[in-house]
């Protein structure tokens, strides 16, 4: 379980996280939804110890983040994070060199799944294919948790469908997945838990299926209530 307790963070005078608390469980897909603002990405960065927080506590299965934990939690940001001059193959070798949790078999499976060409240079790839390379780097690690930042933003519809397929596939099996997005319509059916966020505060945290069952509301219905009401 990834747990955030009362996390505060500011950039200069601007308060971006104002006492954030929520959990993301293993074996579930949790979605951080926010209409705007930088909060979502900051939360993922903070979980991965890629930016300091002012106050509060972040734990993963009870432990605080450490270098060894990068073999247990993978993060897929929405910017390309391998060197542009690397080929897909070289990028995979790099990962294999440093991560004991790198799974070669699974990596090859993902390359086939996304129909990537291993000899292509990353800088020559389309934006969609670069996003797939990013996913490959994260999903081929045998980790317990995968964090993805805006996996659907700025990507063509076919790539988006392929990425959506990832969530219900074996590639995500039994892991805890935490994704951020501002466009939820296409993935409503894939989520377990939804965390609604705005202006650095959590408005609501709920299980999507439970919400449908007890109140007959879709995720978008709840968002409409929360953000417009």
């Amino acid at each position: 379980m990834i747990e955030l307790k009362n996390v505060h963070k500011s950039f200069g005078r601007k308060q971006v996280l104002n006492g954030i608390s929520f959990t993301a469980n293993k074996g579930e897909i949790t979605c951080l939804v926010g209409v705007n603002g930088v909060g979502k990405t900051t939360i993922l960065n903070a979980i991965m110890n890629l930016t300091p927080v002012k106050k509060g506590e972040i734990t993963i299965d009870g432990e605080t983040m450490s270098p060894a934990m990068y073999n247990k939690v993978a993060f897929i940001p929405d910017v390309a994070i391998m060197l542009p001059q690397m080929t897909v193959h070289e990028a995979m070798d790099f990962m294999k060199d440093y991560y004991s949790s790198w799974n070669c078999k699974r990596a090859k499976e993902i390359v086939r799944f996304f129909r990537l060409n291993m000899t292509d240079r990353i800088s020559d790839l389309s934006k969609g294919n670069q996003a797939k390379v990013n996913l490959l780097m994260g999903l081929a690690l045998d980790v317990d948790y995968v964090l993805m930042d805006e996996p659907f933003s700025g990507i063509d519809i076919f790539t988006r469908e392929q990425i959506t397929d990832v969530f219900s596939s074996r590639l995500v099996e039994d892991r805890g997945v935490l994704i951020t997005t501002h466009e939820i319509q296409d993935i409503e059916h894939l989520l377990d838990k939804v965390v609604l966020l705005d202006d650095g505060v959590i408005y609501k945290e709920f299980n999507a299926e439970e919400m449908r069952e007890t109140e007959g509301k879709s995720v978008v219905d709840v968002m409409r209530e929360v953000y417009n009401g």
Binding site: G27, E28, I29, T164, D165, F167, S168, S169, R170, E173, E188, H189, L190, L191, D192, A208, E209, R212, E213, G216, K217, S218, V219, V220, D221
Partner: protein
């Protein structure tokens, strides 16, 4: 296999409804294998935990059964199947009755209409 889901009803109930339909219509024979949970989640593009929930509900209702380490199968128990058909019919008739309630019409005319409709549908199918 393509299902479009309603966003406001629990997905697991919609998945169950989908399978019940396949079973009563005979498209899914008694004893035939169910898709694996992962496979189904991937095909319907829905959350694997939701499929899991639908399957365990169906197991509870004895619509499907699972032997350890084997794929789940559709029940072969005639009483369960009969019960399911009865339920299905009951549900359909209630919906139908509720729908025609506003119109004042003799039962005989309705029966006649139903017969006619069923006849044309059968013809269309052939």
């Amino acid at each position: 296999m393509n299902v479009s889901f309603n966003k406001r009803d629990p997905i697991y109930l919609q998945v169950m409804q989908y399978f019940k339909r396949l079973i009563v219509s005979g498209e899914l024979n008694p004893g035939s294998e169910m898709p694996s949970r992962r496979q189904l989640a991937n095909q319907l593009k829905i959350n694997p935990n939701t499929v899991q929930r639908a399957y365990s509900e169906m197991e509870d209702q004895r619509l499907i059964y699972t032997e350890t380490n084997r794929p789940s199968r559709v029940t072969e128990d005639p009483s369960v199947l009969n019960q399911l058909k009865k339920e299905w019919l009951h549900h359909a008739v209630s919906t139908f009755v509720a729908a025609i309630e506003p119109i004042d019409i003799p039962l005989n005319d309705v029966v006649h209409l139903i017969e006619e409709k069923m006849h044309t549908r059968k013809k269309d199918k052939q």
